[in-house]
Symmetry: C2
Subunit: 300 residues, 2 copies
Protein backbone atom coordinates (compact mmCIF):
# COMPACT_ATOMS: atom_id res chain seq x y z
CA UNK A 1 0.00 0.00 0.00
CA UNK A 2 1.50 3.35 -0.98
CA UNK A 3 1.01 7.10 -0.80
CA UNK A 4 1.94 9.04 -3.94
CA UNK A 5 3.00 12.69 -3.71
CA UNK A 6 2.81 14.75 -6.90
CA UNK A 7 3.82 18.35 -6.22
CA UNK A 8 6.88 20.40 -5.32
CA UNK A 9 9.72 17.88 -4.66
CA UNK A 10 11.29 19.96 -1.86
CA UNK A 11 8.07 19.84 0.12
CA UNK A 12 7.75 16.20 -0.95
CA UNK A 13 10.99 15.40 0.88
CA UNK A 14 9.57 17.05 4.03
CA UNK A 15 6.42 14.98 3.69
CA UNK A 16 8.47 11.81 3.21
CA UNK A 17 10.31 12.45 6.47
CA UNK A 18 7.07 13.02 8.36
CA UNK A 19 5.44 9.92 6.86
CA UNK A 20 8.47 7.81 7.80
CA UNK A 21 7.97 8.89 11.43
CA UNK A 22 4.22 8.75 11.59
CA UNK A 23 3.07 6.12 9.09
CA UNK A 24 6.09 3.87 8.51
CA UNK A 25 3.95 1.06 7.08
CA UNK A 26 2.79 3.22 4.18
CA UNK A 27 5.27 3.40 1.28
CA UNK A 28 5.84 7.05 0.36
CA UNK A 29 6.47 7.77 -3.35
CA UNK A 30 7.27 11.04 -5.08
CA UNK A 31 6.03 11.51 -8.63
CA UNK A 32 7.09 10.38 -11.25
CA UNK A 33 8.60 7.45 -9.28
CA UNK A 34 5.23 5.85 -8.65
CA UNK A 35 6.34 2.22 -8.14
CA UNK A 36 3.54 -0.31 -8.58
CA UNK A 37 0.51 1.70 -9.75
CA UNK A 38 -1.81 -0.88 -8.21
CA UNK A 39 -0.34 -0.23 -4.76
CA UNK A 40 -1.27 3.46 -4.74
CA UNK A 41 -4.22 4.02 -2.42
CA UNK A 42 -3.61 7.70 -1.61
CA UNK A 43 -2.58 10.57 -3.87
CA UNK A 44 -1.59 14.08 -2.78
CA UNK A 45 -1.37 16.35 -5.80
CA UNK A 46 -1.20 19.98 -6.83
CA UNK A 47 -2.21 18.99 -10.38
CA UNK A 48 -3.53 15.41 -10.43
CA UNK A 49 -2.46 13.22 -13.36
CA UNK A 50 -4.74 13.37 -16.39
CA UNK A 51 -6.71 10.21 -15.75
CA UNK A 52 -5.96 9.15 -12.17
CA UNK A 53 -8.45 6.29 -12.08
CA UNK A 54 -7.01 4.61 -15.19
CA UNK A 55 -3.44 5.14 -14.04
CA UNK A 56 -3.99 4.18 -10.39
CA UNK A 57 -6.74 1.57 -10.35
CA UNK A 58 -6.84 1.15 -6.55
CA UNK A 59 -6.76 4.83 -5.70
CA UNK A 60 -9.11 5.58 -2.82
CA UNK A 61 -8.45 9.16 -1.80
CA UNK A 62 -7.04 12.26 -3.45
CA UNK A 63 -5.68 15.03 -1.22
CA UNK A 64 -5.24 18.44 -2.76
CA UNK A 65 -2.07 20.25 -1.79
CA UNK A 66 -1.62 23.92 -2.62
CA UNK A 67 1.33 26.18 -2.24
CA UNK A 68 -0.46 29.36 -1.20
CA UNK A 69 -3.14 31.75 -2.32
CA UNK A 70 -1.18 33.47 -5.04
CA UNK A 71 -0.56 30.19 -6.85
CA UNK A 72 -4.16 28.99 -6.58
CA UNK A 73 -5.51 27.30 -9.62
CA UNK A 74 -9.21 27.74 -9.05
CA UNK A 75 -10.20 25.37 -11.80
CA UNK A 76 -8.57 22.22 -10.47
CA UNK A 77 -8.51 22.21 -6.68
CA UNK A 78 -11.46 21.50 -4.42
CA UNK A 79 -12.31 24.13 -1.84
CA UNK A 80 -11.32 22.29 1.30
CA UNK A 81 -7.59 22.46 1.22
CA UNK A 82 -5.89 23.75 4.35
CA UNK A 83 -5.35 27.32 3.15
CA UNK A 84 -9.12 27.70 2.85
CA UNK A 85 -9.77 26.04 6.20
CA UNK A 86 -7.39 28.46 7.90
CA UNK A 87 -8.99 31.50 6.29
CA UNK A 88 -12.50 30.37 7.26
CA UNK A 89 -11.35 29.88 10.87
CA UNK A 90 -9.64 33.25 11.02
CA UNK A 91 -12.44 35.29 9.47
CA UNK A 92 -15.16 33.52 11.48
CA UNK A 93 -13.24 34.25 14.68
CA UNK A 94 -12.78 37.88 13.62
CA UNK A 95 -16.44 38.42 12.71
CA UNK A 96 -17.65 36.83 15.95
CA UNK A 97 -15.11 38.89 17.93
CA UNK A 98 -16.68 42.05 16.51
CA UNK A 99 -20.26 40.75 16.63
CA UNK A 100 -20.02 39.72 20.30
CA UNK A 101 -18.35 42.99 21.40
CA UNK A 102 -15.06 41.44 22.48
CA UNK A 103 -13.09 44.65 21.91
CA UNK A 104 -15.34 46.25 24.53
CA UNK A 105 -15.19 43.29 26.88
CA UNK A 106 -11.37 43.27 26.65
CA UNK A 107 -11.38 46.96 27.64
CA UNK A 108 -13.74 46.15 30.51
CA UNK A 109 -11.46 43.33 31.66
CA UNK A 110 -8.47 45.70 31.68
CA UNK A 111 -10.56 48.09 33.81
CA UNK A 112 -11.85 45.19 35.99
CA UNK A 113 -15.42 46.11 35.14
CA UNK A 114 -18.27 43.56 34.93
CA UNK A 115 -20.94 45.02 32.64
CA UNK A 116 -23.25 43.50 30.09
CA UNK A 117 -23.44 45.05 26.62
CA UNK A 118 -26.73 44.52 24.76
CA UNK A 119 -26.43 41.63 22.28
CA UNK A 120 -27.41 42.13 18.66
CA UNK A 121 -28.98 39.23 16.82
CA UNK A 122 -26.89 37.88 13.96
CA UNK A 123 -29.81 38.56 11.63
CA UNK A 124 -29.31 42.29 12.20
CA UNK A 125 -25.52 42.25 11.61
CA UNK A 126 -24.78 42.53 7.92
CA UNK A 127 -21.55 41.00 6.68
CA UNK A 128 -19.98 41.85 3.32
CA UNK A 129 -17.01 40.27 1.57
CA UNK A 130 -14.91 42.16 -0.98
CA UNK A 131 -13.61 39.47 -3.34
CA UNK A 132 -15.69 36.33 -3.72
CA UNK A 133 -13.36 33.76 -5.25
CA UNK A 134 -12.66 30.41 -3.59
CA UNK A 135 -11.72 31.94 -0.24
CA UNK A 136 -14.53 34.50 -0.15
CA UNK A 137 -17.11 31.87 -0.99
CA UNK A 138 -15.85 29.49 1.69
CA UNK A 139 -15.94 32.32 4.24
CA UNK A 140 -19.49 33.35 3.27
CA UNK A 141 -20.63 29.75 3.37
CA UNK A 142 -19.60 29.52 7.03
CA UNK A 143 -20.86 32.96 8.06
CA UNK A 144 -24.29 32.25 6.59
CA UNK A 145 -24.67 29.38 9.06
CA UNK A 146 -24.64 31.86 11.93
CA UNK A 147 -27.55 33.82 10.45
CA UNK A 148 -25.65 36.92 9.33
CA UNK A 149 -27.18 38.53 6.23
CA UNK A 150 -24.37 38.06 3.71
CA UNK A 151 -23.30 39.99 0.63
CA UNK A 152 -20.32 39.81 -1.69
CA UNK A 153 -18.72 42.21 -4.13
CA UNK A 154 -16.64 41.26 -7.15
CA UNK A 155 -15.34 43.06 -10.20
CA UNK A 156 -17.32 40.88 -12.57
CA UNK A 157 -20.86 39.61 -11.86
CA UNK A 158 -21.26 36.37 -9.88
CA UNK A 159 -24.20 34.49 -8.42
CA UNK A 160 -23.93 32.71 -5.07
CA UNK A 161 -26.79 30.96 -3.26
CA UNK A 162 -27.93 32.90 -0.20
CA UNK A 163 -25.56 35.80 -0.85
CA UNK A 164 -26.55 39.21 -2.22
CA UNK A 165 -24.03 39.72 -5.00
CA UNK A 166 -22.83 43.12 -6.18
CA UNK A 167 -20.46 43.67 -9.09
CA UNK A 168 -18.33 46.45 -10.51
CA UNK A 169 -17.39 49.95 -9.41
CA UNK A 170 -20.92 51.28 -9.87
CA UNK A 171 -22.31 48.85 -7.27
CA UNK A 172 -19.57 49.34 -4.69
CA UNK A 173 -21.30 52.10 -2.73
CA UNK A 174 -24.57 50.16 -2.48
CA UNK A 175 -22.64 47.12 -1.23
CA UNK A 176 -20.79 49.21 1.36
CA UNK A 177 -23.94 51.02 2.54
CA UNK A 178 -25.48 47.68 3.67
CA UNK A 179 -22.31 46.28 5.27
CA UNK A 180 -21.72 46.41 9.04
CA UNK A 181 -18.67 44.13 8.98
CA UNK A 182 -16.49 44.51 5.89
CA UNK A 183 -14.09 41.67 5.05
CA UNK A 184 -11.43 42.34 2.43
CA UNK A 185 -10.22 39.28 0.54
CA UNK A 186 -9.17 41.05 -2.65
CA UNK A 187 -5.89 40.33 -4.44
CA UNK A 188 -3.40 43.18 -4.76
CA UNK A 189 -3.81 44.93 -8.09
CA UNK A 190 -3.48 48.48 -9.38
CA UNK A 191 -7.12 49.13 -8.58
CA UNK A 192 -7.13 47.62 -5.07
CA UNK A 193 -3.95 49.38 -3.87
CA UNK A 194 -5.13 52.00 -1.36
CA UNK A 195 -8.77 50.98 -1.86
CA UNK A 196 -9.46 50.73 1.89
CA UNK A 197 -9.36 54.47 2.44
CA UNK A 198 -11.59 57.40 3.30
CA UNK A 199 -13.92 56.94 0.31
CA UNK A 200 -14.74 53.34 1.22
CA UNK A 201 -14.97 54.03 4.97
CA UNK A 202 -17.34 56.97 4.38
CA UNK A 203 -19.65 54.73 2.36
CA UNK A 204 -20.05 52.25 5.23
CA UNK A 205 -22.72 52.72 7.92
CA UNK A 206 -21.42 54.61 10.95
CA UNK A 207 -19.86 52.20 13.45
CA UNK A 208 -18.94 49.53 10.92
CA UNK A 209 -15.89 47.30 11.36
CA UNK A 210 -13.13 46.08 9.07
CA UNK A 211 -11.52 42.65 8.76
CA UNK A 212 -8.51 43.00 6.48
CA UNK A 213 -7.18 39.67 5.22
CA UNK A 214 -6.25 40.83 1.72
CA UNK A 215 -2.86 42.48 1.17
CA UNK A 216 -1.19 45.22 3.23
CA UNK A 217 -0.87 47.95 0.57
CA UNK A 218 -4.67 47.99 0.11
CA UNK A 219 -5.12 49.84 3.42
CA UNK A 220 -4.57 53.58 3.90
CA UNK A 221 -3.26 53.65 7.49
CA UNK A 222 -3.96 57.34 8.10
CA UNK A 223 -7.53 56.97 6.81
CA UNK A 224 -8.11 54.00 9.11
CA UNK A 225 -6.88 55.90 12.18
CA UNK A 226 -9.05 58.90 11.24
CA UNK A 227 -12.13 56.69 10.73
CA UNK A 228 -11.63 55.03 14.12
CA UNK A 229 -11.13 58.46 15.70
CA UNK A 230 -14.34 59.86 14.20
CA UNK A 231 -16.42 56.78 15.02
CA UNK A 232 -17.08 56.09 11.35
CA UNK A 233 -15.36 52.77 12.06
CA UNK A 234 -15.77 50.94 15.37
CA UNK A 235 -12.83 48.55 15.14
CA UNK A 236 -10.43 46.84 12.76
CA UNK A 237 -8.86 43.40 12.68
CA UNK A 238 -5.78 43.40 10.50
CA UNK A 239 -3.88 40.29 9.45
CA UNK A 240 -1.86 42.08 6.77
CA UNK A 241 -0.04 45.40 7.00
CA UNK A 242 2.30 47.65 5.02
CA UNK A 243 5.09 47.04 5.63
CA UNK A 244 5.36 43.51 6.98
CA UNK A 245 6.61 42.94 9.59
CA UNK A 246 4.84 45.94 11.08
CA UNK A 247 7.67 47.85 12.82
CA UNK A 248 7.68 48.37 16.59
CA UNK A 249 6.43 51.86 17.38
CA UNK A 250 3.75 51.85 14.62
CA UNK A 251 0.56 53.38 15.98
CA UNK A 252 -1.50 50.29 15.01
CA UNK A 253 0.15 48.20 17.73
CA UNK A 254 -1.21 50.21 20.65
CA UNK A 255 -4.60 51.25 19.27
CA UNK A 256 -7.32 49.81 21.53
CA UNK A 257 -9.68 49.22 18.56
CA UNK A 258 -7.12 47.54 16.27
CA UNK A 259 -6.09 43.92 16.49
CA UNK A 260 -2.93 42.88 14.65
CA UNK A 261 -1.88 39.37 13.68
CA UNK A 262 1.22 38.66 11.59
CA UNK A 263 -0.24 37.48 8.26
CA UNK A 264 -1.36 34.13 9.60
CA UNK A 265 -5.01 33.96 8.50
CA UNK A 266 -4.39 31.46 5.72
CA UNK A 267 -1.06 30.18 6.97
CA UNK A 268 -0.22 26.70 5.85
CA UNK A 269 3.07 24.88 5.97
CA UNK A 270 4.27 21.36 5.29
CA UNK A 271 3.77 20.25 8.89
CA UNK A 272 0.17 21.38 8.96
CA UNK A 273 -0.88 19.89 5.67
CA UNK A 274 0.95 16.63 6.16
CA UNK A 275 -0.39 16.23 9.69
CA UNK A 276 -3.92 16.83 8.46
CA UNK A 277 -3.40 14.22 5.75
CA UNK A 278 -1.89 11.74 8.22
CA UNK A 279 -4.76 12.22 10.65
CA UNK A 280 -7.23 11.64 7.85
CA UNK A 281 -5.44 8.54 6.63
CA UNK A 282 -5.59 7.17 10.18
CA UNK A 283 -9.34 7.85 10.21
CA UNK A 284 -9.80 6.30 6.78
CA UNK A 285 -7.90 3.16 7.73
CA UNK A 286 -9.95 2.85 10.92
CA UNK A 287 -13.13 3.03 8.87
CA UNK A 288 -14.03 6.43 10.30
CA UNK A 289 -15.25 9.36 8.22
CA UNK A 290 -12.49 11.71 7.09
CA UNK A 291 -12.53 15.41 7.91
CA UNK A 292 -12.17 18.23 5.33
CA UNK A 293 -9.38 18.06 2.76
CA UNK A 294 -10.62 15.12 0.72
CA UNK A 295 -11.96 14.25 -2.68
CA UNK A 296 -12.89 10.72 -3.66
CA UNK A 297 -11.26 9.53 -6.87
CA UNK A 298 -14.43 7.75 -7.96
CA UNK A 299 -16.35 10.98 -8.13
CA UNK A 300 -13.60 12.66 -10.06
CA UNK B 1 -52.87 39.60 8.43
CA UNK B 2 -51.83 39.08 12.04
CA UNK B 3 -49.02 37.97 14.31
CA UNK B 4 -50.02 35.84 17.30
CA UNK B 5 -47.89 35.81 20.45
CA UNK B 6 -48.36 32.92 22.85
CA UNK B 7 -45.97 33.18 25.75
CA UNK B 8 -45.28 35.31 28.83
CA UNK B 9 -47.74 38.28 28.65
CA UNK B 10 -45.26 40.79 30.13
CA UNK B 11 -42.80 40.11 27.34
CA UNK B 12 -45.77 40.03 24.98
CA UNK B 13 -46.52 43.66 25.83
CA UNK B 14 -42.90 44.57 25.01
CA UNK B 15 -43.20 42.76 21.70
CA UNK B 16 -46.48 44.56 20.95
CA UNK B 17 -44.81 47.94 21.43
CA UNK B 18 -41.91 47.03 19.16
CA UNK B 19 -44.25 45.65 16.49
CA UNK B 20 -46.35 48.82 16.60
CA UNK B 21 -43.21 50.81 15.80
CA UNK B 22 -41.64 48.51 13.27
CA UNK B 23 -44.47 46.62 11.58
CA UNK B 24 -47.60 48.72 12.11
CA UNK B 25 -49.46 47.00 9.27
CA UNK B 26 -49.30 43.64 11.05
CA UNK B 27 -51.99 43.15 13.72
CA UNK B 28 -50.33 41.97 16.93
CA UNK B 29 -52.40 39.57 19.08
CA UNK B 30 -51.60 38.04 22.45
CA UNK B 31 -52.93 34.55 23.20
CA UNK B 32 -55.74 33.69 23.96
CA UNK B 33 -57.14 36.80 22.21
CA UNK B 34 -56.43 35.42 18.74
CA UNK B 35 -59.01 37.40 16.73
CA UNK B 36 -59.81 35.87 13.35
CA UNK B 37 -57.92 32.55 13.23
CA UNK B 38 -57.75 32.79 9.44
CA UNK B 39 -55.80 36.04 9.67
CA UNK B 40 -52.94 34.55 11.65
CA UNK B 41 -49.91 34.14 9.40
CA UNK B 42 -47.20 34.19 12.08
CA UNK B 43 -47.09 32.55 15.49
CA UNK B 44 -44.48 33.12 18.20
CA UNK B 45 -44.91 30.55 20.95
CA UNK B 46 -43.20 29.06 23.95
CA UNK B 47 -45.62 26.11 23.85
CA UNK B 48 -47.47 26.07 20.51
CA UNK B 49 -51.19 25.22 20.66
CA UNK B 50 -51.97 21.52 20.33
CA UNK B 51 -52.87 21.46 16.66
CA UNK B 52 -51.70 24.77 15.21
CA UNK B 53 -52.51 23.90 11.60
CA UNK B 54 -56.15 23.02 12.36
CA UNK B 55 -56.60 26.06 14.59
CA UNK B 56 -54.79 28.52 12.35
CA UNK B 57 -55.37 27.41 8.75
CA UNK B 58 -53.28 30.17 7.13
CA UNK B 59 -50.33 29.93 9.48
CA UNK B 60 -47.09 30.25 7.53
CA UNK B 61 -44.32 30.56 10.11
CA UNK B 62 -43.84 29.52 13.71
CA UNK B 63 -41.19 31.33 15.75
CA UNK B 64 -40.04 29.69 18.94
CA UNK B 65 -39.54 32.00 21.88
CA UNK B 66 -37.78 30.83 25.02
CA UNK B 67 -37.33 32.44 28.36
CA UNK B 68 -33.83 31.28 29.20
CA UNK B 69 -31.79 28.15 29.62
CA UNK B 70 -33.11 27.15 32.98
CA UNK B 71 -36.69 27.07 31.72
CA UNK B 72 -35.85 25.11 28.56
CA UNK B 73 -38.33 22.48 27.60
CA UNK B 74 -36.17 20.26 25.44
CA UNK B 75 -39.06 18.30 24.03
CA UNK B 76 -40.97 21.10 22.36
CA UNK B 77 -38.63 23.82 21.09
CA UNK B 78 -36.49 23.66 17.98
CA UNK B 79 -32.79 24.33 18.40
CA UNK B 80 -32.57 27.68 16.68
CA UNK B 81 -34.02 30.02 19.21
CA UNK B 82 -31.90 33.05 20.12
CA UNK B 83 -30.46 31.68 23.35
CA UNK B 84 -28.95 28.80 21.39
CA UNK B 85 -27.73 31.09 18.62
CA UNK B 86 -25.91 33.25 21.17
CA UNK B 87 -24.25 30.27 22.83
CA UNK B 88 -23.10 28.84 19.49
CA UNK B 89 -21.60 32.21 18.56
CA UNK B 90 -19.84 32.59 21.89
CA UNK B 91 -18.38 29.09 22.08
CA UNK B 92 -17.31 29.08 18.43
CA UNK B 93 -15.51 32.39 18.96
CA UNK B 94 -13.88 31.02 22.12
CA UNK B 95 -12.72 27.77 20.52
CA UNK B 96 -11.32 29.57 17.48
CA UNK B 97 -9.60 32.12 19.77
CA UNK B 98 -7.76 29.25 21.45
CA UNK B 99 -7.23 27.24 18.27
CA UNK B 100 -5.72 30.17 16.37
CA UNK B 101 -3.43 31.21 19.25
CA UNK B 102 -5.02 34.60 19.87
CA UNK B 103 -3.93 34.71 23.51
CA UNK B 104 -0.35 34.55 22.23
CA UNK B 105 -0.94 37.03 19.43
CA UNK B 106 -2.50 39.48 21.91
CA UNK B 107 0.63 39.19 24.06
CA UNK B 108 2.77 39.77 20.97
CA UNK B 109 0.72 42.83 20.06
CA UNK B 110 1.25 44.26 23.56
CA UNK B 111 5.00 43.66 23.08
CA UNK B 112 4.84 45.04 19.50
CA UNK B 113 6.28 41.79 18.17
CA UNK B 114 5.47 40.36 14.71
CA UNK B 115 6.01 36.61 14.86
CA UNK B 116 4.24 33.69 13.29
CA UNK B 117 3.17 30.79 15.54
CA UNK B 118 2.86 27.40 13.80
CA UNK B 119 -0.76 26.66 12.90
CA UNK B 120 -2.35 23.40 13.95
CA UNK B 121 -4.91 21.84 11.65
CA UNK B 122 -8.41 21.65 13.09
CA UNK B 123 -8.31 17.89 12.57
CA UNK B 124 -5.61 17.64 15.24
CA UNK B 125 -7.43 19.83 17.82
CA UNK B 126 -9.85 17.73 19.85
CA UNK B 127 -12.87 19.49 21.28
CA UNK B 128 -15.00 18.04 24.08
CA UNK B 129 -18.28 19.28 25.52
CA UNK B 130 -19.38 18.48 29.08
CA UNK B 131 -23.18 18.47 28.91
CA UNK B 132 -24.79 17.59 25.59
CA UNK B 133 -28.37 18.81 25.84
CA UNK B 134 -29.84 21.30 23.37
CA UNK B 135 -27.04 23.83 23.81
CA UNK B 136 -24.22 21.31 23.76
CA UNK B 137 -25.57 19.64 20.64
CA UNK B 138 -25.95 22.96 18.81
CA UNK B 139 -22.39 23.91 19.76
CA UNK B 140 -20.99 20.56 18.59
CA UNK B 141 -22.95 20.79 15.37
CA UNK B 142 -21.20 24.05 14.53
CA UNK B 143 -17.73 23.00 15.71
CA UNK B 144 -17.85 19.83 13.59
CA UNK B 145 -18.11 22.01 10.48
CA UNK B 146 -14.62 23.34 11.16
CA UNK B 147 -13.15 19.84 11.19
CA UNK B 148 -12.45 19.57 14.92
CA UNK B 149 -12.74 15.99 16.21
CA UNK B 150 -15.68 16.30 18.58
CA UNK B 151 -16.72 14.42 21.71
CA UNK B 152 -19.40 14.92 24.31
CA UNK B 153 -19.92 13.72 27.86
CA UNK B 154 -23.23 13.34 29.62
CA UNK B 155 -24.41 11.68 32.80
CA UNK B 156 -26.68 9.26 30.93
CA UNK B 157 -25.77 7.67 27.57
CA UNK B 158 -26.58 9.58 24.37
CA UNK B 159 -25.84 9.06 20.70
CA UNK B 160 -25.03 12.00 18.43
CA UNK B 161 -24.02 11.74 14.78
CA UNK B 162 -20.35 12.56 14.26
CA UNK B 163 -19.67 12.96 17.97
CA UNK B 164 -17.83 10.46 20.19
CA UNK B 165 -20.20 10.16 23.14
CA UNK B 166 -19.06 9.28 26.66
CA UNK B 167 -21.41 8.77 29.61
CA UNK B 168 -21.21 8.53 33.37
CA UNK B 169 -18.48 9.01 35.94
CA UNK B 170 -16.56 5.93 34.80
CA UNK B 171 -16.05 7.41 31.31
CA UNK B 172 -15.11 10.92 32.42
CA UNK B 173 -11.34 10.34 32.50
CA UNK B 174 -11.30 8.79 29.02
CA UNK B 175 -13.29 11.75 27.71
CA UNK B 176 -10.92 14.25 29.34
CA UNK B 177 -7.78 12.42 28.16
CA UNK B 178 -8.76 13.01 24.50
CA UNK B 179 -9.89 16.63 24.93
CA UNK B 180 -7.64 19.58 24.01
CA UNK B 181 -10.36 22.21 24.39
CA UNK B 182 -12.86 21.49 27.16
CA UNK B 183 -16.22 23.28 27.04
CA UNK B 184 -18.42 23.14 30.14
CA UNK B 185 -22.14 23.47 29.49
CA UNK B 186 -23.33 21.56 32.56
CA UNK B 187 -26.17 22.75 34.78
CA UNK B 188 -25.35 23.51 38.42
CA UNK B 189 -26.12 20.49 40.58
CA UNK B 190 -24.64 18.92 43.69
CA UNK B 191 -22.34 16.80 41.56
CA UNK B 192 -21.14 19.59 39.23
CA UNK B 193 -20.37 22.11 41.97
CA UNK B 194 -16.55 22.36 42.10
CA UNK B 195 -16.20 19.78 39.30
CA UNK B 196 -13.76 21.94 37.32
CA UNK B 197 -10.90 21.41 39.74
CA UNK B 198 -7.53 19.70 40.04
CA UNK B 199 -8.87 16.20 39.35
CA UNK B 200 -10.44 17.20 36.03
CA UNK B 201 -7.52 19.42 34.97
CA UNK B 202 -5.01 16.66 35.71
CA UNK B 203 -6.95 14.26 33.48
CA UNK B 204 -6.69 16.60 30.46
CA UNK B 205 -3.68 16.48 28.10
CA UNK B 206 -0.96 18.96 29.11
CA UNK B 207 -1.60 22.35 27.52
CA UNK B 208 -5.37 21.94 27.20
CA UNK B 209 -7.75 24.90 27.43
CA UNK B 210 -11.04 25.54 29.19
CA UNK B 211 -14.17 27.32 27.96
CA UNK B 212 -16.48 27.73 30.95
CA UNK B 213 -20.05 28.64 29.97
CA UNK B 214 -21.82 26.59 32.63
CA UNK B 215 -22.29 28.09 36.09
CA UNK B 216 -19.75 29.93 38.25
CA UNK B 217 -19.69 27.62 41.30
CA UNK B 218 -18.54 24.70 39.11
CA UNK B 219 -15.02 26.17 38.89
CA UNK B 220 -12.37 25.90 41.60
CA UNK B 221 -10.54 29.23 41.18
CA UNK B 222 -7.38 28.19 43.04
CA UNK B 223 -7.12 24.98 41.00
CA UNK B 224 -7.47 26.94 37.75
CA UNK B 225 -4.71 29.36 38.70
CA UNK B 226 -2.45 26.46 39.73
CA UNK B 227 -3.14 24.59 36.47
CA UNK B 228 -2.31 27.68 34.40
CA UNK B 229 0.84 28.20 36.47
CA UNK B 230 2.04 24.62 35.98
CA UNK B 231 1.23 24.58 32.25
CA UNK B 232 -1.31 21.81 32.71
CA UNK B 233 -3.77 24.32 31.25
CA UNK B 234 -2.77 26.76 28.52
CA UNK B 235 -5.63 29.23 28.83
CA UNK B 236 -9.19 29.70 30.06
CA UNK B 237 -12.17 31.61 28.71
CA UNK B 238 -14.70 32.23 31.47
CA UNK B 239 -18.18 33.61 30.92
CA UNK B 240 -19.39 32.70 34.39
CA UNK B 241 -17.68 33.23 37.73
CA UNK B 242 -18.26 32.90 41.45
CA UNK B 243 -19.33 35.38 42.59
CA UNK B 244 -20.99 37.39 39.85
CA UNK B 245 -20.18 40.18 39.29
CA UNK B 246 -16.54 39.22 39.67
CA UNK B 247 -15.18 41.82 42.11
CA UNK B 248 -12.45 44.28 41.10
CA UNK B 249 -9.11 43.04 42.41
CA UNK B 250 -9.87 39.35 41.74
CA UNK B 251 -6.78 37.68 40.27
CA UNK B 252 -8.73 36.43 37.22
CA UNK B 253 -9.06 39.96 35.82
CA UNK B 254 -5.35 40.50 35.25
CA UNK B 255 -4.25 36.98 34.35
CA UNK B 256 -2.80 37.03 30.81
CA UNK B 257 -4.18 33.56 30.01
CA UNK B 258 -7.72 34.17 31.32
CA UNK B 259 -10.44 35.96 29.40
CA UNK B 260 -13.47 37.14 31.36
CA UNK B 261 -16.88 38.11 29.98
CA UNK B 262 -19.84 38.98 32.23
CA UNK B 263 -22.19 36.02 31.71
CA UNK B 264 -23.20 37.04 28.21
CA UNK B 265 -22.67 33.84 26.21
CA UNK B 266 -26.35 33.03 25.91
CA UNK B 267 -27.70 36.50 26.63
CA UNK B 268 -31.06 37.17 25.10
CA UNK B 269 -33.57 39.91 25.80
CA UNK B 270 -36.88 40.99 24.33
CA UNK B 271 -35.30 43.49 21.96
CA UNK B 272 -33.02 40.88 20.47
CA UNK B 273 -35.64 38.24 19.89
CA UNK B 274 -38.28 40.59 18.60
CA UNK B 275 -35.83 42.32 16.26
CA UNK B 276 -34.73 38.97 14.89
CA UNK B 277 -38.37 38.02 14.32
CA UNK B 278 -39.15 41.39 12.70
CA UNK B 279 -36.15 41.14 10.38
CA UNK B 280 -37.23 37.65 9.37
CA UNK B 281 -40.81 38.73 8.75
CA UNK B 282 -39.50 41.49 6.50
CA UNK B 283 -37.48 38.91 4.57
CA UNK B 284 -40.44 36.52 4.38
CA UNK B 285 -42.76 39.22 3.07
CA UNK B 286 -40.17 40.26 0.48
CA UNK B 287 -40.00 36.66 -0.72
CA UNK B 288 -36.46 36.25 0.58
CA UNK B 289 -35.26 33.24 2.54
CA UNK B 290 -35.50 33.64 6.31
CA UNK B 291 -32.49 33.30 8.58
CA UNK B 292 -32.30 30.97 11.62
CA UNK B 293 -35.11 31.00 14.20
CA UNK B 294 -37.86 29.48 12.09
CA UNK B 295 -39.98 26.41 11.81
CA UNK B 296 -42.56 25.96 9.08
CA UNK B 297 -45.97 25.02 10.38
CA UNK B 298 -46.52 22.60 7.52
CA UNK B 299 -43.64 20.42 8.62
CA UNK B 300 -44.81 20.45 12.19
Amino acid sequence: MSFLYKSDPVRGAQWAQRFAQKAPDLAFRIWPDIGDPKAVRYLAAWQPPDDPVALLPNLEVVFSVGAGIDQFDLSSVPAHIPVVEGMVEYVTQAVLTIHRDLFDYAAQQRAQVWGEIPVRAAVSRRVGVLGIGTLGQAVLDMLRRFGFPCAGWSRTPRTLAGVDCYAGDAALDAFLARTDILICLLPLTGSTRGLLGARVFDALPAGASLVQVGRGPQLDAAALLAALESGRLDSAILDVTEPEPLPAGHSFWTHPRIRITPHIASATRPGTAVDAVLANIARHRAGQPMVGVVDRARGY
